[in-house]
């Protein structure tokens, strides 16, 4: 146990230590706090009101426990999806495991140590979603002390089952994928598979939900006490047990459910540790990076082309992003995930002959603005730009001794991010054609979003230049605990969101072309300002001070 605890402490320190970081990020936390404080007050009061009204609606039918069922089911589902991503990155993408293997640790101890960091994320998520609903429900029903006691303990146990399920699935998958014996390829295959799993899951749920049948079933279910809870949680006992433990907290029955849930959690934990002991190291070890390839004369000749410095640098950036599994997942796949999910939802909700009826009620100007702001929000969440400098890590210094101008380096990094945004823009392009947006609107949108993509790439690169994170030992660390991307998103989406809203509401500008010109003008002004800021930084010799 001592060793496990030691591993947990060491691994957390490696992830979150401030050692070697310059300056303080205090101002970032202050900005985040200022933004988040009003949002959280509104959020909590909204949840409270919502739960109270649902409770009073369901209580007369004896179905209020369904709320708890939905809560547990929803949170387990969310934690499961999050676990897929975090388990993959912490267990398999992070190379730091190599440093621990020579030490006399059991695989299960390594696993538990590695689970510590993902668990922190899962607890934060559970706290944000579970606690407000839990307390609101408690106050709505005037619940007993046992309700709160069980609830807090269940909250502490919440991430264990979804995490264990996700980890077990992935450990089996990686054991299988590892047959390829190529580390990077295995990581990419596993990463893409887990995204596909989430999308397929979504499709499955959509296929299962048939609205006509549901109405009939609901009538039957409503006639039975707690029938709704049983329906909601029928396929997933942990949600049923947790919800019942809280719902019946004042009786012995609640205690039995509660103990059953504790046993189930302990079982999941043991199964996770046991299977981890069997499978984990087999999935991680034996992965290697090698692959011998001979260089033929023709290939050598072909590869010897002389290219302009910027083009060469952009190609280098893109190659590194696409070949580093963590960068590929964070910079490329995550950006695509949202739009792909939207396409899936649209395809299933609207059938094959896609047409969004509400589009008919909008003017061309409004369609343009809607398309623009939706696609802009997606590309401004992309982390390629805000990791431009940080991705280099400890090799940032190579940019300093090569005969390169700082603006050549930054231009190439901005361009690399812009190119990666093209994937999302292409998806939106296809999407807009699917929902039959007028061609002229699509073309104008294309010009504005390509310009906006340059803006968000430049701004992200500038933000990263201000506070780069170079002292990482593993690519995973680079994306952890960084608020800069989120702050960048808030600023950009805030400014452009307000401006788009203003254009939407404005009666003075009704014409599509005038709107697009104004929008384009604003984007160019913003790009100009960002360039001035970057220039200022370059002139203050920020490159050497990083």
């Amino acid at each position: 146990m001592n060793n496990t605890w030691l591993l947990i402490k060491t691994m957390l320190k490696m992830q979150y230590s401030n050692a070697g970081k310059k300056g303080s990020n205090l101002w970032l936390y202050v900005v985040a706090f200022i933004f988040l404080l009003p949002v959280s007050i509104i959020y909590i009061s909204f949840i409270n009101g919502f739960i109270h009204s649902l409770y009073s609606g369901l209580q007369p039918f004896g179905q209020e426990s369904a709320l708890l069922g939905i809560l547990f089911l929803g949170i387990h589902l969310l934690l499961f999806i999050m676990s897929l991503v975090t388990v993959l990155s912490a267990f398999y993408f992070a190379d730091d495991i190599q440093s621990y293997i020579p030490f006399p640790f059991h695989p299960y101890q390594l696993l538990i140590g590695k689970a510590a960091s993902p668990f922190l994320y899962l607890y934060v998520t559970s706290a944000i979603i579970f606690l407000p609903v839990f307390f609101s429900y408690g106050s709505a029903g005037g619940e007993s002390l046992f309700y709160y006691l069980y609830g807090i303990i269940l909250f502490m146990l919440l991430p264990i089952i979804p995490f264990a399920i996700a980890a077990i699935i992935l450990m089996f998958m990686m054991r299988f994928v590892n047959v390829a014996k190529n580390k990077d390829r295995s990581k990419v295959i596993a990463g893409i598979s887990s995204f596909l799993l989430i999308i397929l899951f979504n499709i499955f749920i959509r296929l299962k939900t048939n609205s006509n049948e549901m109405v009939e079933e609901l009538t039957v279910i409503f006639q039975k006490q707690d029938g709704l809870l049983e329906m909601v949680t029928v396929f997933y006992p942990p949600a049923y047990l947790s919800a019942s433990a809280l719902g019946d907290s004042q009786s012995w029955l609640g205690l039995i459910y509660f103990i059953a849930m504790l046993a189930l959690t302990a079982g999941a934990l043991l199964l996770f540790a046991w299977l981890g002991q069997l499978l984990y190291l087999k999935g991680v070890l034996g992965l290697n990076n090698s692959g011998k390839h001979k260089l033929s004369k023709q290939k050598m000749q072909r590869k010897m082309k002389r290219r302009p410095v910027r083009l060469s640098y952009i190609t280098k950036e893109l190659k590194i992003i696409f070949r580093t599994p963590t960068f590929l997942m964070q910079c490329v796949m995550q950006g695509l995930f949202g739009p792909i999910l939207v396409v899936v939802i649209l395809l299933f909700d609207f059938g094959t002959g896609l047409s969004l009826e509400f589009l008919d009620t909008l003017s061309d100007k409004q369609i343009l603005l809607l398309l623009f702001i939706a696609s802009f929000i997606i590309i401004s969440t992309n982390v390629t730009a805000v990791s431009s400098v940080s991705r280099e890590g400890k090799t940032w210094y190579t940019n300093l001794f090569f005969p390169l101008e700082p603006n050549q380096v930054l231009f190439s990094k901005i361009a690399a991010s812009w190119i990666i945004n093209l994937f999302v823009i292409t998806l939106f392009f296809i999407l807009s054609l699917l929902v039959t947006v007028p061609v002229v609107v699509v073309l104008i949108w294309l010009v504005t979003i390509l310009t906006a993509s340059w803006l968000t790439s430049s701004f992200g690169t500038y933000l990263d230049l201000l506070k780069p994170k170079l002292n990482w030992t593993d690519e995973q660390e680079l994306f952890k605990g960084r608020f800069i991307g989120f702050i960048g998103f808030l600023i950009q989406a805030g400014i452009l969101g307000i401006f788009t809203w203003f254009l939407w509401r404005s009666d003075a500008v009704e014409n599509l072309y005038a709107t697009s010109l104004i929008l384009l003008g604003l984007l160019l002004v913003c790009i100009f300002i960002v360039y001035k800021l970057i220039d200022k930084k370059i002139n203050s010799n920020v490159f050497q001070d990083i």
Binding site: N288, N289, S290, G291, K292, H293, K294, L295, K299, M300, Q301, K303, M304, K305, R306, R307, P308, V309, L311, S312, Y313, K316, K319, I320, R323, T324, K394, T395, Y397, T398, L400, F401, F402, P403, L404, E405, N541, Q544, D545
Partner: protein, 241 residues
């Protein structure tokens, strides 16, 4: 030629990591740079190559000030850093091509040099593999090849022989000699005192940021009136007592 004039550097306002360093490395010479761990060798090299800003003083490479004319100065030297772990996700050939593009080396010359040096260092067959898969020594060889393909006048090498197999170490030493004999400058830091004794025309010894000796082996022996090896003199010079 490398001219280091009155250079000082401190970190976070603490004691000078480099204290009024004056050093001139003339053309046609190999100069070894010695010092215990933390003496300031890497800091000096980083300032010479533009990686770290200089607090006080100037550094010129072939007459070009590294701070005032950085691009021109950077084109005149090639650096082998102490850690060759860079661009790990590029293939060997891609890295060399990238360097070729940055230093504007014409395609034909580039091809000729890459073939020549990588065959000499026995890494030609690994050029299509990712640098990530290379051993430390192979990475070192690729970085050295990267320096050689743009044929700079000044070579600055931070621990260049670490991790190299005996044959490649021998080849590199021969190359350093040949490069200096052509009238160029070779400046390298090392902890291998025997190599320095055998290869260098002069040694510069630094301790706690101060230059404590600069001259050839004969001058060293004369100054300290001893016939002892460089190792013994070095240990004596850099001892704290």
């Amino acid at each position: 030629m490398i001219e280091i004039n009155n250079v000082s550097k401190s970190f976070h306002g603490k004691n000078n990591a480099i204290d009024q360093l004056n050093l001139v490395i003339p053309d046609g010479k190999i100069v070894g740079f010695l010092g215990p761990n933390g003496a300031g060798k890497s800091t000096t090299i980083k300032m010479m190559t533009g990686i770290l800003p200089i607090d006080k003083g100037t550094i010129k490479l072939n007459g070009l000030d590294i701070e005032k004319q950085p691009l021109e100065a950077k084109k005149t030297f090639g650096l082998v850093p102490d850690q060759p772990d860079m661009f790990l996700r590029l293939k060997g050939i891609e890295y060399l091509n990238f360097i070729g593009d940055i230093f504007n080396v014409p395609a034909e010359i580039r091809k000729e040099r890459i073939e020549y040096f990588t065959k000499k260092f026995s890494v030609y067959d690994a050029l299509e593999d990712y640098i990530l898969t290379y051993s430390h020594g192979m990475r070192q060889k690729i970085v050295v090849t990267g320096v050689l393909i743009h044929d700079p006048d000044v070579w600055i090498l931070d621990e260049p022989l670490t991790g190299l197999d005996p044959k490649s170490a021998y080849i590199l030493k021969e190359m350093m000699r040949a490069h200096a004999d052509k009238g160029n400058t070779v400046f390298f830091s090392s902890h291998g005192l025997e190599v320095v004794e055998q290869l260098c025309d002069a040694v510069a010894i630094i301790n706690k940021g101060k230059l404590i000796f600069y001259g050839n082996m004969d001058e060293l022996k004369a100054q300290y009136q001893t016939d002892q090896s460089l190792e013994n003199v070095f240990l004596e010079l850099t001892s704290d007592e």
